[in-house]
Symmetry: C2
Subunit: 300 residues, 2 copies
């Protein structure tokens, strides 16, 4: 309890008079953002006491998401968005997240609002955006299981973990894919308002298999119990470095990973033959998945 | 496999030529609908093969949800909505769900489209809407843990279960609260496309603690392993009937349950004294919760 209060004072979530000020949670939205990536945290934070949740996007107007199944209208464009105490960056499929990573206005806004932020959180491939904004240098982080090797490749100075629901490293919380945003947000509630508050929210949303120990808290909670990966329980560990294909087994040209849809470079992709074609992958993870069910991915 | 194919033929999800036709999943939206209630199923069904997911609302135009944090625009009003193969009715807090239950146009539309539907699913208090439409007669169903006794009280001819993530009874799938919509939708995928397809979607959304046996399938899967209720694992069982307060301990007037916010009638509410006030509850579940932390609810 003492630790939590010191921490709150440190990050300014108490006003000078000692009264808790309202926490502003800002969720970044963009065309193609994955619904459950942000719905989990939005749901959890909307149940956190003394909290205002708002949504922001690069520009005013509506956004089509989930293959145009849903139209959403964010509250603010970047220019008028209130300073976030907590920023949540949800992920998306590779083509959509790339657009955000390449949006200088979004990246600059994230950088500019960082010093006054208590906490920054990414869900799934939202990690790419925070990496681009320079928040991952020297940090331990995670992302969707299919993206850990790619994230490591893009950020040699970060320690990318696999088999963990979330990683908390100081003011940075990163989570595994899609539904893991719920766990990341519950961890933030636990840190800001205490474990009982987080448990009460987990009960309200009937997240009955919630395990506060399924994440890695740097400096506090090692090792984690790990998460279920496929059929077996796996312990959090740094992702294995990618071993690109050597001469004779490299891709002839840059291509697209048939599993995750990411662009892969001929120089760095791991590859394998299927039929008469050589396929390139962003990671060993995607290659393994392809090996298991090639027909599924070739027919896409 | 044989069973699945027979069942698909039965419900018309294969066209007469034997080619699988596209499955249309329609998600009902309304002002105040709980985000995660529909985000889970929308996410899961958007990953189901050969499936089109659309959203419908009583009227055209945008809806404010999550205390106005998010504005969403459904695809169709009732009049022009395509016939659903699968209808998903998400829940909301008691005040919002009551508005839908009382909306004759919505209830009539659900009734009219029922005969041609392969499957109907509710999440959380969305069960109230299906109950009102008459779909629960003689059926085994579930809802959010705080609403099971109320649902039983409203539907003497249904068997309301507690401690189960979902219940499948023929063409009806009902789920526990909020996040349990994910499990209900994965069950539907498993039934329509096979367990491997459901497992693949669970992997994609990193729902790593997914347990296909956490629900009750009437006539097929008894008993379930049950779900974690508070700290202990509980097995699915019919909810205990409510025992209203007797003379001398009844409410003086109709009131509001301080825990769940539902309207409670003086004739049927269970009650307890706290300080000088008698409080009324929709269920023993809410009374127990109040007993544990009365200060939390009185101060609301």
């Amino acid at each position: 309890m003492k630790f939590i209060i010191s921490w709150l004072l440190l990050v300014g979530l108490f006003s000078k008079e000692g009264e808790p000020k309202q926490t502003t949670v800002v969720i970044l939205l963009y065309p193609g953002v994955e619904l459950l990536d942000f719905a989990g945290p939005l749901e959890v934070f909307s149940l956190m006491e003394n909290t205002k949740v708002v949504t922001v996007a690069a520009k005013p107007g509506s956004l089509a998401i989930m293959k145009k199944t849903l139209t959403i209208t964010p509250d603010y464009p970047l220019e008028t968005c209130p300073q976030p105490d907590i920023l949540v960056v949800p992920g998306a499929s590779p083509d959509h997240i790339r657009t955000v990573v390449d949006d200088a206005a979004v990246i600059n806004w994230i950088r500019q609002t960082t010093p006054k932020r208590a906490l920054t959180m990414s869900v799934c491939t939202g990690a790419y955006v925070l990496a681009k904004a320079g928040l991952f240098t020297g940090k331990t982080v995670t992302t969707h299981w299919a993206s850990t090797q790619m994230l490591q490749q893009m950020n040699a100075d970060a320690r990318v973990m696999e088999h963990t629901r979330f990683v908390e490293d100081g003011k940075l919380v990163t989570t595994a894919g899609v539904s893991a945003g719920i766990d990341g947000a519950l961890r933030v509630v636990s840190r800001l308002k205490g474990p009982a508050a987080a448990r009460s929210i987990a009960e309200t949303i009937e997240y009955d298999k919630w395990d506060p120990n399924s994440g890695l808290i740097v400096g506090q909670q090692p090792p984690t119990k790990g998460i279920r990966s496929g059929k077996k329980q796996a312990v959090a560990k740094p992702v294995s470095p990618i071993k690109p294909a050597g001469p004779g087994t490299a891709l002839a040209t840059d291509g697209v990973d048939p599993v995750c849809g990411m662009t892969v470079q001929k120089g760095t992709a791991v590859t394998m033959m299927f039929g008469a074609t050589r396929y390139g992958f962003c990671s060993e993870i995607c290659r393994t998945r392809f090996k298991r069910e090639p027909a599924k991915y070739v027919s896409r």
